[in-house]
Symmetry: C2
Subunit: 220 residues, 2 copies
């Protein structure tokens, strides 16, 4: 089911969705989202990615088990690293985010679709008589497609969240889906009908992260 939404509004309000209803997701919806994903740019238009769409409940349960194991190691470590929030509001937000992430980790198996994004591990270095050229990481040709996928879900009335914590057990994730060792699994995107509202997520404002002309210079 396509949703009409203005681009600028979608960019502003498409936040991570970690809670979903039981409503099933149509394979065609996922394919449309992937078709939007591949319209993102890639260096030399090589499209160095593949996708695995996991819908079988047994496979999702096994991915969910690995994910939860990874989460249970990651969550306390990252909590220990996180500075004490500066305001009650920020502390509240942090608690809500942790609770939602924890709920996702405990319910991932029930999310109707898991999309895995694969990237070949082989180096894409370009070489000439002078030697190797660094013309950017292959990731630069993959994560733009992931972001397009996230936004395309929004246009389908679906929600998702970019996760990478499963990487702690990436070898086992590959095994579950028969993914050859020559691919890195660069994202796991659980997709479903969102439970929760779209809205502007809390961020440091761009102006605080932007220099003008020279690093550290303010706008005149």
């Amino acid at each position: 089911m396509a949703v009409e939404i203005d681009l600028a509004e979608a960019l502003r309000t498409t936040r991570a969705m970690r809670r979903f209803t039981d409503e099933p997701v149509d394979d065609d919806q996922i394919l449309r989202c992937l078709d939007a994903a591949v319209q993102a740019p890639s260096g030399g238009n090589i499209q160095p990615y593949q996708f695995v769409v996991v819908t079988e409940p047994d496979l999702r349960a096994r991915l969910a088990e690995l994910y939860l194991r990874a989460w249970e190691r990651y969550a306390p470590a990252v909590t220990a690293l996180t500075p004490t929030p500066k305001s009650e509001e920020a502390a509240d937000r942090q608690r809500r985010n942790m609770a939602a992430s924890d709920e996702l980790a405990r319910n991932l198996g029930a999310v109707p679709v898991h999309v895995l994004v694969l990237m070949p591990k082989i180096s894409m270095t370009i070489t000439d008589d002078e030697g190797d050229m660094d013309v950017g990481p292959t990731y630069a040709s993959v994560y733009p497609a992931v972001q397009n996928f996230i936004l395309a879900c929004r246009a389908e009335g679906l929600g998702t969240v970019l996760t990478t914590v499963y990487k702690i057990h990436e070898a086992e994730v590959r095994e579950v889906c028969g993914i050859p060792d020559r691919y890195e699994v660069v994202a796991l995107l659980p997709v479903g009908h969102p439970r929760g509202r779209w809205g502007v997520a809390a961020r440091r404002p761009a102006s605080a992260l932007t220099s003008w002309n020279r690093f550290g210079e303010k706008r005149r």
Copy 2:
């Protein structure tokens, strides 16, 4: 100037823009695009990026000179690597793309705004008693913002293209803008008013890149 455009349509038709008119770009437009960029997800919401917006003609000229030098080394090497296109149409497309990239390299100094995206080189590894955890590359928290920026330009009536070829001379790029060595410059985005039409770029279709449930399995 904000442009109303449907999200799904924008995802489908926002292609790389490499030719621009002389019309100036407003600083506020760039800031709005950066505000949209930071709404993209980042791991633990850490937003591990900064931006340098280059508008001074002298600095743009110096970046353009480095870019052209990089392009003149990259272009022949990548052409030598590129397989012969399978159809006259594909060959045509390849020639047009090379011509547009070449034109960009020769005219970059005239593009009104160059946006550099920076990422700290420090490792973001999380550690516990068991050792280091790989929870994904920092790039996963940066290139989604770059893609949001590209789409936000579209919503402002602007065009841009994700470039990384300058990385061949990245140290000198950093020098031009006084960027500390601790940052990697992960993208240079020339921004201007597009000369050329929006449309669906040629891509391998997602269906050809997608497995269902297990790697290599087709959709049932």
